[in-house]
């Protein structure tokens, strides 16, 4: 009786570990290796994307990884690196991944990009490159302060349809 109870507990324990292993293994994005994610920044030539490895926190699901990577892309690289940056104060309000498309809701600070197509194109290219590096995301849809936008104010780049790497 005592033996049976021990066997039962052991089975439950082993099953729990197996299920847990399976679950964790399957929710981890394959682009994440060694607990890092790749964030891209656009160089001052306006086109070249430079990859940076950024250490991840504990979460390993696509949504969390994407949010973390996009936050890093919007925050910009360390100050000493010359790269196109989002306007100061721009941050993510939300990020939602559905059917391979990440819908990124940016704070209205993004509208203060200054009117130049150089910054405008460079910052969105960096965001799209970063998010589409996350396994399971192949397009990025932009919202500003919760609303769909066709372009930024005085903007050039089309934002009414999702952007992907093939947009460039």
């Amino acid at each position: 009786m005592r033996f049976l109870r021990g066997l039962f507990l052991l089975t439950v324990f082993v099953l729990a570990i197996a299920v847990g292993w399976y679950y964790i293994g399957h929710r981890t994005s394959s682009s994440v290796s060694n607990g890092t994610v790749t964030v891209y920044y656009t160089k001052y030539d306006g086109t070249t994307e430079v990859p940076y490895s950024v250490t991840l926190g504990t979460a390993r699901d696509v949504q969390s990884i994407a949010f973390y990577a996009a936050t890093q892309a919007v925050a910009g690289p360390p100050q000493e690196i010359q790269a196109i940056r989002f306007p100061a104060g721009t941050h993510l309000l939300s990020l939602d991944v559905r059917d391979g498309t990440a819908t990124v809701d940016l704070s209205g600070d993004v509208n203060k990009y200054g009117g130049g197509s150089f910054d405008e194109a460079g910052m969105f290219k960096s965001l799209v490159w970063t998010l589409t590096a996350v396994h399971g995301i192949n397009a990025v849809s932009i919202r500003v302060d919760g609303s769909r936008v066709a372009t930024l104010p005085g903007g050039h780049l089309e934002l009414d349809e999702p952007l992907s790497r093939s947009s460039w």
Partner: protein
């Protein structure tokens, strides 16, 4: 012949100029050998290298340093392409003056005027009637015995209202500096010294804030004074507004509680000229200061290229008009083809809003006269007849239509095709006068014949390129959208200036040009959404079957480091257009080559014809911004884009097929 200067007395100047005109005599102007008098302008003598006196005019070579200096002083630029029949002068107040070789008149955006001397080509350069040109630039040549004094005038007085304010602009042949003489509740008087006026002595305005404007001229012809009195409603507010160019003074009037913008009218606009540095940074287009308060340095003369003419001018032989064909290819369009022999000069006029005629000069009608009524409702009748009253035989084609229809006139190898479209073309974008010559490669000068604010008929769009001679230019931003602003430069002002310069160049090369906007305004309306604004620009190209679309911008970044020129495309097949423009621009400007880049920019994605978006240079980079402030740099940008278009598309199509055609 090398340039020479005359520093001796008047007699020596006389003798040398006369001698020089003898040397440059040619078959074209063999009758013209009277001595050429001296010209004085603003206290200095203007010396022309090869002037010719022809009857009552003085012919001056286009590349003459004297003429270039004069044009720079009045803020105008001249462009002429060898082989082109059109010499285009862009003025400080952004008017376009077009001289057609061999045609006895010139055109402005608002109409035309006859000239006693036709522009002509001799050797490797073009000759223009200088006295006429000076007058058109608001500088009156006053003959005094042996010499001309070139006297700047106030040549235009425009009054308009935007509902709240009455906006008055005065345009002169010189920067308009004033002293304020009287500033009372019901009256303000500004005194302009050294400036005369060709304006009517009184102009009734009768709008809230401003009742009447009176203009009196006093003093001598060498030192005149113009007094402009504004009769305002008692207590009306008044202000000076930033002006787009240095020869223009913009004022606003309104009820006391109306916010006028601008600055209070100063007691005196600064009249101490500041010596101009060689590379002038201050230009008239900056809105950051009161325009009249800053004496602006002379502009660098615009680039001017004079190379040998390869083909002689067409020689008119027996000019005949052989008949008229009328087609009704679509319910909203009537196509009238007037068949002529090649080389017939024609001139068209719009009378009021519902009549239009084309005169074929020195021509004989070889078919029976016609007076017909077409099947379309928007054209009442058309007639073709030999004019009995004219001194030279003239064939006239005349149309009566419903008001405000759009008309395009395009010459081709067989005559002239006149298109009347059932489109409401209300507004001041309809040219009143135009001219051209029939024959292979014949082109018409239609400075503003293509309305820039009219979208085509709803429904099916014409195929891209079905108007193979039409290029749509889109000056980036405008109106409520300033675009980027850095280092004292506003993107919408730079882009409009470059686009207007480019328009002149393209017209001179035989293209028809439509602008998405040719004044500082929103294209779709001040309260429209950003996307509606961009779509309106796309529509300007898509609804007209344009051959090409070029959007002109100035770049910026939050960093001051990036600099240079970039040409963008989106549709893969458009890359050659962007690449051709980019190659010419970086070659000519010496800016950093930032490459030909693909970006999903709205206007180049949604236009159906080859499209490029040009970021000329960076406003946020101090060196680039300083260059963008220079008119000669902006002219070079226009030349670079025009050359790129030429590399990509060659010359404009010589004949026009209105229904068919794609590439």
């Amino acid at each position: 012949m090398s340039p020479f200067r005359v520093r001796a007395g008047k007699a020596a100047a006389f003798a040398l100029l006369w001698f020089c005109s003898m040397l440059s005599a040619s078959p074209v102007n063999a009758q013209a050998l009277a001595p050429v008098p001296a010209f004085w302008f603003g206290g200095t003598q203007l010396i022309f290298e090869h002037p010719d006196r022809v009857d009552s005019e003085i012919a001056v070579r286009g590349s003459d340093p004297g003429l270039q200096r004069f044009l720079a002083r009045v803020g105008a630029t001249l462009s002429w392409e060898p082989n082109s029949r059109y010499v285009v002068i862009t003025t400080a107040d952004r008017r376009t003056l077009t001289f057609t070789l061999g045609v006895p008149h010139f055109q402005t955006s608002s109409g035309g005027e006859s000239v006693p001397l036709r522009a002509y080509v001799d050797g490797n350069d073009v000759y223009l009637p200088f006295l006429t040109l000076a007058r058109a630039l608001y500088v009156e040549p006053i003959f005094q015995g042996t010499q001309y004094v070139l006297q700047p005038q106030i040549g235009a007085l425009n009054v308009r209202t935007d509902g709240r304010r009455v906006l008055v602009s005065l345009v002169g042949g010189t920067p308009l500096r004033f002293t304020k003489d009287i500033d009372e509740p019901g009256r303000m008087t500004l005194v302009f010294r050294g400036v005369s006026s060709t304006l009517q002595p009184s102009r009734a305005v009768d709008l809230p804030g401003l009742g009447r404007i009176d203009i009196t001229v006093a003093g001598s012809s060498r030192n005149p004074t113009t007094v402009v009195t504004f009769q305002t409603t008692p207590g009306a507010a008044r202000a000076v507004l930033p002006s787009p160019n240095r020869n223009e003074l913009d004022l606003a009037f309104g009820a006391p509680d109306v916010a006028l913008g601008g600055f209070p009218v100063p007691l005196q606009s600064d009249s101490t000229p500041v010596p101009a540095p060689a590379t002038a940074l201050a230009t008239p287009m900056l809105a950051s200061s009161i325009p009249t308060a800053v004496p602006l340095p002379d502009q660098t003369p615009a680039p001017y290229v004079a190379v040998p003419v390869q083909t002689p001018l067409p020689v008119t032989t027996a000019s005949v008009v052989t008949g008229v064909d009328v087609e009704n290819p679509a319910p909203d369009a009537l196509l009238i083809h007037v068949a002529t022999s090649p080389g017939v000069s024609f001139e068209w006029h719009r009378l009021g809003i519902d009549r239009f005629y084309v005169d074929f000069a020195s021509a004989t009608l070889t078919s029976a006269p016609r007076d017909d009524r077409p099947t379309v409702a928007f054209v009442q009748s058309y007639r073709v007849s030999q004019l009995q009253s004219a001194s030279t035989p003239t064939v006239r084609f005349a149309v009566t239509m419903t008001p405000n229809r759009r008309i395009d006139v395009l010459p081709d190898a067989q005559g002239v095709t006149i298109t009347i479209a059932d489109v409401d073309a209300t507004g001041d974008f309809i040219a009143q006068v135009g001219s051209g010559v029939t024959g292979a490669g014949g082109v018409a000068v239609v400075p503003t014949a293509v309305p820039s604010d009219v979208t085509g008929p709803p429904g099916a769009l014409p195929p891209p390129g079905s108007n193979p001679r039409l290029i749509v230019l889109d000056p980036g931003h405008g109106g409520s959208d300033t675009g980027a602003m850095h280092n004292g430069v506003v993107e919408k002002e730079v882009t409009l200036d470059i686009a207007l310069r480019l328009r002149s160049l393209l017209i001179a090369r035989g293209w028809l040009v439509r602008m998405t906007h040719d004044t500082d305004r929103d294209v779709s309306g001040p309260n429209a959404s950003d996307v509606a604004e961009l779509q309106a620009r796309v529509d300007a190209a898509n609804t007209t079957g344009a051959r090409m679309f070029v959007s002109i911008h100035a770049n910026s970044s939050t960093s001051s480091v990036p600099s240079g020129t970039t040409s963008y495309y989106y549709k893969p097949q458009d890359r050659p257009l962007a690449a051709a423009i980019q190659a010419r621009l970086v070659g000519l400007l010496g800016t950093k080559d930032d490459g030909v880049i693909r970006e999903r920019f709205y206007v180049i994605h949604r236009t159906t014809m080859p499209a490029a978006l040009i970021e000329t240079a960076f406003l946020s980079n101090a060196a680039d911004a300083a260059r963008l402030r220079s008119p000669s740099f902006r002219q070079q940008i226009a030349v670079g884009i025009a050359d790129g278009i030429k590399d990509y598309a060659g010359q404009p199509a010589s004949s026009v097929s209105v229904q068919q055609g794609s590439f």
